[in-house]
């Protein structure tokens, strides 16, 4: 998985609780991304980062925030989880070729 880890790999939580997902890379790549993947919707970009403390919104950013204080770590936070945020979350980093991305193993999140 190109030196990308995600934690936790599985999580079950209750509506209204805060949740933080962590993405860690050992490749020292500048760009990092958070996606969610849902049946019928495919991969949708939540937020991305183009450097330490530099982030921007994707197409489904409502209800999510991110932080990147170090090159290797990109955190995704659900401030108050809702059932609609039940999904599989993937972190990705930019690849060597322009515009390519390499994905982590994913986090399966269930919000009850």
């Amino acid at each position: 998985d190109a030196g990308i880890t995600q934690s936790p790999r599985h999580k079950v939580t209750e509506t209204g609780t805060p949740v933080t997902l962590r993405c860690h890379q050992t490749e020292n790549h500048r760009y990092m991304y958070w996606y969610r993947q849902d049946p019928g919707h495919g991969l949708r970009l939540i937020h991305y980062s183009y450097g330490v403390k530099d982030t921007d919104k994707g197409e489904v950013s409502d209800g999510y925030s991110v932080s990147r204080s170090k090159t290797e770590d990109f955190l995704l936070t659900l401030e108050s989880a809702t059932s609609s945020q039940t999904s599989v979350y993937f972190c990705a980093i930019s690849g060597l070729a322009p515009d390519t991305q390499y994905f982590g193993p994913g986090t399966r999140l269930t919000v009850l």
Binding site: R30, G40, H41, L43, D56, D99, Y102, F103
Partner: protein, 113 residues
């Protein structure tokens, strides 16, 4: 009209068959095209990366771009059960800046022994 469209399948073929997977796109300015493979409960992995029109071959896989028709294809020769996965096409709308990709929904492929 979506910017990238991909038939979700599922597609089921016997082992050894030639498989054709396709995406259409709407913007003639798109320049780079990618195919990713995703096994069940895994992250997508980059399979092929092509620029402009023509063919690119890598082992049993061939990526083809027809810019006049705005159509991209992935061919798999001598398909194997290990090729059973979901195949996604991806296109950067602003090539070269690593910002975002437009993703197809993916085509689910099953290769039966």
């Amino acid at each position: 009209q979506k910017e990238v469209e991909q038939d979700p399948g599922p597609l089921s073929v016997p082992e050894g068959a030639i498989v054709s997977l396709n995406c259409t796109y709407s913007n003639s300015a798109f320049q780079y095209f990618m195919w990713y493979r995703q096994y069940s409960r895994k992250g997508p992995e980059l399979l092929m990366y092509t620029y402009s029109s023509g063919n690119k071959e890598d082992g049993r896989f061939t990526a083809q771009v027809d810019k006049s028709s705005k159509y991209i294809s992935l061919f798999i020769r001598d398909s194997q059960p290990s090729d059973s996965a979901t195949y996604l096409c991806a296109i950067p709308p602003n090539a070269g800046n690593n910002r975002k990709l437009i993703w197809g929904l993916g085509t689910s492929l099953a290769v039966n022994p």
